[in-house]
Subunit: 318 residues, 2 copies
Amino acid sequence: MAAPRRTAADLAERLLAGDKRALARAISLVEDDDPEGWALVQEVYPRTGRAKVVGFTGPPGVGKSTLMGALVRHARERERQVAVLSIDPSSPFTKGALLGDRIRLAEHFLDAGVFIRSMASRGSLGGLSEATLQAALLMDASGKDEVLLETVGVGQAEVDIIDHADTVVLVLQPGSGDSIQALKAGVMEIPDVIVVNKADHPLADTMIREIRGVLSLGPPMSWRVPIVRTEAALYKGIDELVERIDAHREHIEAEGTLAERRRRNLENEVMTLAAVRLRRKLEASTRDDAEVRELLDEVVARRVDPATAAARLLEREL
Amino acid sequence: MAAPRRTAADLAERLLAGDKRALARAISLVEDDDPEGWALVQEVYPRTGRAKVVGFTGPPGVGKSTLMGALVRHARERERQVAVLSIDPSSPFTKGALLGDRIRLAEHFLDAGVFIRSMASRGSLGGLSEATLQAALLMDASGKDEVLLETVGVGQAEVDIIDHADTVVLVLQPGSGDSIQALKAGVMEIPDVIVVNKADHPLADTMIREIRGVLSLGPPMSWRVPIVRTEAALYKGIDELVERIDAHREHIEAEGTLAERRRRNLENEVMTLAAVRLRRKLEASTRDDAEVRELLDEVVARRVDPATAAARLLEREL
């Protein structure tokens, strides 16, 4: 452990100084589940908690990446350091569907005050939600004023991934009927801010009325969810969106829910990381084990049920 | 363990004889994570593997429950025993949004050859996917020829829940733009059969063309995903849908992928159940523990990072 720790300290220093390449390297280490990555997060953790973390979710195709680009521009005009983490769940079925999206952020790649990174959702060992939090912590420690997390999807799973954010923004466009239905049926939780992008579309008003209708069904809450119209490609509505996001943050700070939210997230994180490690330990100790193979064959042959097999595995292990 | 086991044997006998109340009781036990429930699954497991299991997913509001009703009617006209398990992810935000859907199945409630059951997704201890499989096994053991699993949602998470099915059907309606985008971007895996319900809608043809476009992007596969038009409320297209589902099953049987699919699912199930038990054990041993509380406070105060805290928890436990 001595060698990686020393390297980590060195990398940590550069990361804390805001070095982009150090940050990129650090996130790769965490994503690859490298012990050096974990040592690094440990090192810089006391320097986290300062950045404003905003999470964006919504169906593919609504223009989220264009919106990220606009928000980066807005932040840079105010000389704020900003990081964008795109959680990209493309399956092997259609590779590169989101590659075009990344290009929309290209104008910012050379700006030292901007850090942009994609992370793939499949195959991440510790679970994508964990990798997301670790990456967000690293971005925070590297001195970013704002960390924007972006996930592509239309369900609760995607909202869960960005639940580490202080503010959760749902981005829709006219025609996002499935998402409205999901909100209405309670399949997806109500976000803190809703954006209707491509608001020049003739059906935008209908869409906003539908969203208002859904929101009116809910119980009265201390925070009234604003619906913001944007045309991200034309940089329209961006000022208002930022105002609303800031207002939400001020609201939860004043109310005390920001501290509560962060505590709950961190506690969950600890338990989840512990559970993931337990599962990995179990998987490592059963892989290529003839006895386990036999037990699984018994399950497939319908002689031993899955729960009994699980119990036997644990008796054997612990 | 002796007493619950005896009760389980008694309940098992009635369940295997096809008693509806015994089946309902058994599923409740599994859902409540009662040891009696697990003993029961153990008892009847050798009698499973016979039913055809079909999973349905799709956004809320597309008419899935009406479609389930039509499929139940179709099965009953052929004197086949059928069970429907609806996995209902309604959040506390809008209670009862799906209650109306259940009413559409009401005409079948008194039919002894039909079993209908809802299960809630939040709060299920062992994970909803596990409870779904256990319930499906119980339905299978009780002599149902067909088990229909239905989940409401628009993402990969919902597809994962019904991944225990032999055939996965995605139900859409004209206007399901978000779901098409999710398929296109590879955010959601391609199902085995796609249904376009409410196919009398003027935009149905456009919708079908869009789906064809998405499917044509994928790699050539041995199974060509059929798109079936239905008007479930008028019982239109149901014969064709059943034919396509049966054809898919014959295809995977002939190809050998049915056995493969079931093996993979059962093996995953064993590992997941073992992991869930490990996590619960961990949570039980740390709950209300002053030392753990202190450790979590250190994390919130940014003095100990989450991964280090997780490692300390495990050192303490194992």
